[in-house]
């Protein structure tokens, strides 16, 4: 019994079908509790008023946007090393989810920034790195769409994901060098004293867990769809060959 058994699409789909109901339910509960608690049961901030509550969407979506790319990086590596198709398809399935989360992060940030910073957009390091991340997602998805042969597409996008990760990281530090920040420091960190009061912290963590579970459920579902699509293509190719 090893993890690699689930490289078999049948076994993967069986496991995915068993996990998915729980993932969807837990995601729904987590997001409902996190957002409900955050929106209605936490006090307004001393200076920011009720706009602070957008943090319950902004931080989880940014979290997913970055971690979706890391998940794609790991899946791409697995595809390049072990040639498991499920892995390549999972990377493909995760990309649009990450893209949407990046957009949500940018939009909620802009909506919050307008009353707080007095501007929709500033060329702040964090904002700029997110915009660059958005461009990387676009390029990655466009490359998947452009290549016809599915295996070549998986190969090329995996290489792009690897090289892109290095350059995304470089860009992150380059923009830190290039511009002074307007964005506040990290809200959550493991090694420092907390920067946020417990009243806000608990619903925020619940909301982040909810978004993470939602991401897992969506990726499992979309990977299943990709596998079904691949199967349908193979079947129709076989029918055309025999006819």
């Amino acid at each position: 019994m090893s993890l690699w058994e689930y490289a078999n699409p049948v076994k993967f789909l069986a496991l995915s079908a068993r996990v998915q109901p729980f993932a969807w339910a837990a995601a729904a509960i987590g997001i409902a509790v996190g957002l409900g608690w955050g929106f209605f049961a936490t006090p307004d901030d001393f200076r920011q008023g009720s706009t602070v509550k957008i943090i319950y969407i902004h931080v989880p979506s940014a979290w997913i946007a970055i971690n979706a790319w890391i998940m794609m990086l790991v899946a791409s590596l697995i595809w390049l090393v072990r040639r498991h198709h499920v892995s390549a398809l999972a990377a493909r399935a995760a990309a649009p989810v990450g893209l949407v989360m990046t957009v949500i992060g940018l939009l909620t940030g802009a909506i919050w920034g307008q009353p707080m910073w007095g501007t929709w957009w500033a060329w702040d390091p964090r904002l700029t790195s997110f915009l660059i991340l958005f461009l990387f997602y676009l390029g990655y998805i466009a490359l998947w769409e452009a290549v016809e042969d599915p295996d070549t597409a998986a190969d090329l996008t995996s290489v792009l994901c690897l090289v892109g990760s290095v350059f995304a990281l470089l860009s992150r530090y380059a923009v830190l060098f290039w511009s002074q920040g307007l964005h506040q420091g990290a809200t959550l960190s493991l090694d420092k004293e907390e920067n946020i009061s417990d009243v806000f912290w608990v619903p925020l963590v619940i909301s982040i867990s909810g978004f993470t579970l939602l991401f897992i459920a969506l990726v499992l579902y979309r990977t299943g769809t990709e596998i079904a699509l691949r199967r349908a293509r193979a079947l129709s190719a076989r029918r055309d060959a025999s006819a």
């Binding site: 660059i132 461009l135 990387f136 676009l138 390029g139 466009a142 490359l143 452009a146 290549v147 070549t152 190969d155 090329l156 290489v159 792009l160 690897l162 090289v163 892109g164 350059f167 995304a168 470089l170 860009s171 380059a174 923009v175 060098f177 290039w178």
Partner: protein, 218 residues
């Protein structure tokens, strides 16, 4: 390797189009900037380093689709892939040839275009230095992009979408070094980081480019 380099250089010189087009594009872009932002010399001199960097970057980008396309069509790439010379080395040579025919002329032309944009006198040296250090990175990153999109029909626009985000760190450090040089600030840090990006890209990206190309032409 030297034979391949000489062949590529000859082709670029004699086949026409490739060699002068990048320069002409750079010139036109620089001439268009004052039309779009106005002829105030103070404004022009403050944006000159950035405009010149952006212009050379775009000129590099535009010449990339010729880098591998012709060799891909007539089968030269297949010969190169099976030749005793590793594909990594062949692609590094191709990037070098691209730099000599595109990057180097841009570096040499940049000071003259700097005059048009009213670049401050102390900025010329650092503009040339930053371009000299940065354009090799543009060539090698572009080679990777070309290898990635080779064999895709109408891949030109897609290549721009893939390559431009990869150009971000180079552009930031290069333009920052040129800008600091123009206003007389200390420029060591961005210049060293720029050199680091160039050297790192030259060391690592030929392998990524060769891997991507093998996936397409196997």
């Amino acid at each position: 390797m030297i034979a391949l380099l000489i062949r590529d250089l000859r082709l670029a010189l004699r086949a026409g189009g490739g060699f002068g087009l990048g320069l002409a594009f750079f010139l036109i872009l620089t001439v268009l900037v004052p039309f779009s932002v106005g002829p105030q010399s103070a404004l022009l001199s403050s944006i000159a380093p950035g405009i010149l960097w952006l212009g050379s970057l775009l000129a590099c980008l535009l010449s990339l689709d010729r880098l591998l396309a012709l060799d891909f069509e007539d089968g030269t790439l297949d010969v190169l892939a099976t030749a005793p010379l590793p594909l990594e080395a062949a692609l590094a040579v191709k990037a070098l040839a691209h730099w000599i025919t595109t990057g180097l002329p841009l570096v040499l032309a940049a000071p003259f275009l700097g005059i048009l944009l009213n670049l401050p006198p102390q900025g010329f040296v650092w503009l040339v230095a930053s371009l000299l250090l940065g354009t090799p990175a543009l060539s090698i990153i572009g080679t990777f992009g070309a290898a990635l999109t080779e064999g895709i029909k109408r891949g030109g626009l897609l290549m721009s979408l893939l390559v431009l985000p990869l150009y971000v760190p180079t552009l930031i450090f290069g333009a920052e070094a040129a800008r600091r040089g123009a206003v007389g600030m200390a420029i060591e840090t961005p210049l060293l980081l720029l050199a680091g990006i160039s050297l790192g890209s030259i060391a690592l990206l030929p392998f990524a480019a060769a891997a991507a190309l093998r996936m397409t032409i196997r």
